[in-house]
């Protein structure tokens, strides 16, 4: 099923025309309404009049995650606060989150792209969908929520956690679809099995999974364990949230909603746009948003784009699996974690040496996150209680800043690598390349 056939199956040349018109309009908007963008364009010696085609986009400077932090909280808005009807935020590096403002129209766009996703998953007005993404500042919960309401489906606004109740309501309300992170889906699969309720009593047949990278192997496992079709839903808080892209029934790439979010693939080193089909860093320009349009936002996600028509009939460009990051950001249990965040916490705790090691692994499809730290010599105690209290305190501080709970491991003095130039601080044993 296709929600918006006109757009999703549009001839490529027509799509480019549409993107061109919208890009020009967006550049006008940011130039006249957002000071940081105007200044940057002036510094680069360009005005909106210089942007006449899609190719001209390369004249424009990039926007980075750092810009969103630097202009915290509202300086990147291109609409007055009176027009902003919603704020969302994602975790930032130093405790300050990244804030995104939506106008009424932006929320409509979000619902529209979300509707394309859930329709592509084969869902409609007769279907009950359990949304088990977190509700709140995180875009996952409310994003999926709006999408399901838009297609006329019935939402169970479950949010994350409370696993037993998740299973109970999924059963009693007859949910046919589940929207959550892929690792939570696998966790639920195990709980569902333990519940002893026969599978045939559940109506579940579809899953919309995203907010963290996942592999084809994980898809197969989810599909087998839950007995459903598992689809990717792609999104970034900075761009809009879940709904930037979606998989169709072919499960062969993630279609991007490119009439709203114009994608480019660049060389992360040089910033040059790479030829069609190349692997590189994904960059988005939002070409319809009003509240906080972003121009050439560097996602840091490494992937490739495929412009061939899909066998589902859609012409919308398809993004391949995300194969990694061009920066040091880790996505752990769906949460963005920068090693620098851990470092800032560790340096604040007087009992600790400023050295650490992050070990990330995926065991039974759940992310394991261990932070190894060294205690300063004077602070070792022979009382187990004190050492455990220290460990707890570190854990608590890290959770406060990162938004996820790490396993803290106290290690022996001088057992962690000392920085000689660039020390290796992260061991990520997960592989997303399968």
């Amino acid at each position: 099923m296709i929600w918006n056939e006109t757009i999703e199956c549009m001839e490529r040349k027509d799509m480019r025309k549409l993107q061109e018109i919208r890009l020009k309009k967006t550049i006008e908007r940011v130039y006249h309404n957002c000071e940081p963008y105007r200044k940057r364009m002036q510094e680069a010696g360009i005005t909106p009049g210089d942007i006449n085609s899609l190719e001209d986009i390369t004249k424009l400077p990039f926007t980075s995650k750092k810009d969103l932090r630097d202009y915290y909280p509202f300086n990147l808005l291109s609409s007055p606060m009176s027009e902003i009807v919603r704020l969302h935020a994602s975790s930032g590096t130093t405790g300050k989150p990244i804030v995104v403002g939506y106008t009424r129209n932006d929320l409509n766009i979000w619902n529209e792209v979300g509707a394309r996703c859930f329709t592509a998953y084969g869902l409609g007005k007769n279907d009950v969908v359990q949304v088990s993404y977190g509700y709140g500042l995180f875009t996952g919960g409310l994003g999926a929520h709006g999408a399901v309401e838009t297609i006329g489906g019935t939402v169970i606004p479950m949010s994350s956690g409370n696993t037993e109740k998740q299973i109970m309501l999924m059963h009693d309300f007859g949910a046919v679809a589940l929207a959550c992170t892929p690792s939570y889906a696998l966790f639920l699969a195990d709980i569902l099995k333990e519940s002893g309720i026969p599978r045939e009593e559940f109506k579940l047949r579809v899953g919309a999974f995203g907010a963290e990278p996942w592999t084809e192997a994980m898809r197969i496992e989810i599909q087998e364990k839950l007995g459903i079709k598992a689809y990717d839903i792609y999104g970034l808080t900075e761009i809009i949230g879940p709904g930037v892209g979606y998989e169709c029934e072919c499960q062969n790439g993630t279609h991007l909603c490119e009439d709203h979010f114009y994608p480019e693939i660049i060389d992360p080193e040089t910033g040059e746009v790479l030829p069609e089909g190349s692997m590189g860093e994904l960059v988005f320009t939002t070409i319809t948003k009003e509240g906080m349009p972003l121009v050439r936002f560097r996602t840091r996600d490494l992937t490739s784009l495929n412009y061939e028509k899909c066998s589902c009939g859609r012409t919308a460009v398809r993004m391949g699996r995300i194969l990694g990051r061009s920066d040091d950001m880790l996505i752990i249990r769906g949460v963005n974690v920068f090693p620098s965040q851990v470092e800032s916490v560790i340096c604040e705790i007087p009992e600790l040496e400023p050295h650490y090691m992050l070990i990330v692994d995926r065991i039974n499809n759940l992310d394991i996150f261990e932070v190894q730290v060294e205690v300063k010599e004077d602070f070792y105690s022979d009382e187990m209680n004190r050492m455990l209290q220290l460990k707890k305190r570190i854990q608590h501080r890290l959770q406060g800043v990162l938004g996820i709970n790490p396993d803290v491991k106290l290690v022996e003095p001088r057992s962690l690598e000392r920085s000689q130039g660039k020390a290796k601080r992260v061991i990520d044993k997960r592989s997303f390349k399968s």
């Binding site: 070792y380 022979d382 009382e383 050492m387």
Partner: protein, 141 residues
Amino acid sequence: MLIKQLSIFLENKKGRFTEIAKILGAAGINMTAFTVAENSDFGILRLLVSDPEKARDILKEYRYAVTMTDVVCLQCPDEPGALGKAMEIITEAGIFIEYMYAFTSGKGALIVLRPDNLEKCVDVLSKNKLILLAASEFYKL
């Protein structure tokens, strides 16, 4: 009356204790008693040796996290009820024991105590005519 105990922080890794035993052995230091408090990822080895200062310095050279703690060593008859009596005295004096461990030697049962108030503990036990092993005697065990 106070005896110096070494406490060594050890990760739960294969061979950590072996290394310590070998280092001390090579230095001619005898271990009199030890106990390990552990959880899932680390342990604290509490160790009584013939020459605590020397042992500490050597272990520090090997970059172990070593702390020195004062403990008392109660000598009590190796017979039923003896320990209960001693503990009753300690409890009634309002002293809390952080941890304790025991071993036997030619001098009968020896109980190593780490009370929250060392001075008071020594005082109470001496007043009640219980035998505390002197450091000089202890290191010769």
